[in-house]
Amino acid sequence: MLSSQTSPSRAAIPPKLASVLQVTPMALVFLLLVIVPLGLIFVVSFLDYNFAQVFPELYLETWVDVLTSDLTLALYLKTFKFLVIVWVITAPLGFAIAYFLAFHLRSTWLRTLLVTAIAIPFWTSGPIRMVSWVPLLGREGVVNQALMGMGITDEPLGWLMYSEFAVLVAYVQMLTMPMIATALNSMAKIPPSVIQAAQDAGASEWQIVRDLIFPLVRPGLAIGTIIVTTAIMGDVVMVKFMGGSQVNTVGMSIITDLNAFMYPPAAAKSILLLVVVLSIVISLLRFADIRKELRS
């Protein structure tokens, strides 16, 4: 990008080599800690095993089990169900809030304040954020007390906490923020003159949103969807605590195998999960060029 050729000739390192050297530490981290382990997991998934031991012998039964078992299907259906419900809530919500922040707020500092307020919970401790639902949704929590106080129920609702409902509540609390952020980023790039032109041509607010803003924000929403997808597909922490060990997902089943030292099935399930997540991500990337989205 820069015309390094014009620099004084005392530069001993050719520019391309300089770049390669600069990127080497990062490349090494990804090679040794992501690519190599990924290969190892792949290999181990084909090995024979018994309790806490893996033998260097080819064993295909693990894969046959994983790919043909009804349990695998059930786990994926459950995980996809979470994903679909969370996406149906967070995508419109994120779009609506980003639209409010970008186009309705006149004061810049108020916008900055609200964006910060929305971002802060994302940075505060995950376990703490989860435990904070107990006083609200627990058996003796605020919601149950209020419901009983109003005479809507006679006894506390058990399904508010440690349930699929609680998992969803925590996911939405956590994952609306990336949707807002990516949508807002796309909206900030829309030139005001374009909207002005549409208004002058007599378009209503709804028409502008539907025909102008939404198509331009779609790449941002695609990236938000990628974040939501990977977060939910790979999650174990949220399911484990909010679900109170009652809810089983793909990630949880891998953890269960790992805790039992059953490495090959854990490896096979991980590889399958990886393939599924990457297929979703790659198909979503057709809606958005990440490098282009990052440019302001």
Binding site: M26, L32, L114, T124, S125, I128, S132, F241, L258, L278
Partner: protein, 282 residues
């Protein structure tokens, strides 16, 4: 952006509807945390839910005394997490900034490293954590927080560091650097006196992101820290044994710490950005 609404002085109905929605969302996000802060001041006889049975700092004192039921190993876990986060933040900063600079030119393998970063970011955390633990296991190495622990966290923090560098350098006007080249500045002088001061707010952002996400990370870390928990793992353990409002006291304190860090870094970043824009506009 705001000229969209500026033309009409009267607020449309959608303004009130969406404003209400945003307010509701903030209540949804903050209400549980506010309950937690209030309940951490529960009296000694009080439990994990409302009503408050008196007000006291009993649970904070329990936490600091390190004695009491269900307290586990919080002080040690906290220390371990802080050390881990500090090391990860420094490494993330150095590695991301150098790699970011590399991307200002085209070079062989640039796409490969970029997609490795994206892969590292979208791979499920337990998967990466499991892979690294497996590699150490097969090589016969012991996992410990200082080796595999930091390594596992870097696979999470580096992609974000690189993306922040892309954003920061995308806004960087190369004319400043070209001026320095014309004046005969060497590469190290250009970095030290031109590039670094301009991108400094972003660089601090990278370090803060590294620090906080290292402190929070569990999925990749849990299999790789060896003996002893990190703070989020310890809290998760306490949650399952869950018992007393001492958990809420931990929550209030950790929030206080991370809020101070975030506010401090925002203040430093805006201060640097303002100083920079005053100088360049002068």
């Amino acid at each position: 952006m705001s000229s969209y609404t500026r033309t009409s002085r009267k607020r449309p109905l959608s303004f009130y509807l969406l404003g209400g929605l945003t307010a509701l969302f903030l209540v949804y996000v903050y209400a549980p945390m506010v309950c937690l802060y209030i309940l951490s001041f529960q009296g000694p006889e009080g439990g994990m839910s409302f009503p408050m049975v008196g007000w006291s700092t009993h649970w904070f004192r329990t936490l600091f005394s390190g004695e009491g039921q269900g307290l586990g190993d919080v002080p040690n876990a906290f220390q371990r997490s802080i050390r881990l986060a500090a090391c990860t933040a420094v490494l993330t900063l150095v590695i991301s900034v150098t790699a970011g600079l590399a991307y200002r030119r085209r070079f062989p393998g640039s796409g490969l490293v970029f997609y490795a970063a994206i892969a590292s970011m979208v791979l499920p955390g337990i998967f990466v954590g499991f892979g690294i633990a497996l590699m150490f296991n097969l090589l016969g190495w012991q996992v410990s927080w200082f080796t595999s622990g930091i390594g596992a966290q870097l696979t999470w923090t580096l992609p974000f560091g690189l993306l922040i560098m892309f954003i920061v350098l995308g806004r960087f006007r190369s004319s400043y650097e070209e001026a320095a080249i014309d004046l005969g500045a060497s590469a190290s002088q250009r970095f030290r006196w031109v590039i670094l001061p301009i991108i400094l707010p972003g660089v601090i952002g990278i370090a803060m992101a590294g620090l906080t996400s290292s402190y929070e990370e569990t999925a990749r870390t849990s299999l790789n820290v060896g003996t002893g928990n990190t703070m989020p793992m310890e809290v998760m353990g306490l949650l399952n044994a869950a018992s007393t409002p001492v958990l809420f006291a931990i929550g209030t304190l950790t929030t206080l710490i991370s809020f101070s860090l975030i506010i401090l870094s925002l203040v430093v970043m805006t201060h640097l950005a303002r100083r920079r824009s005053m100088r360049t506009n002068a």
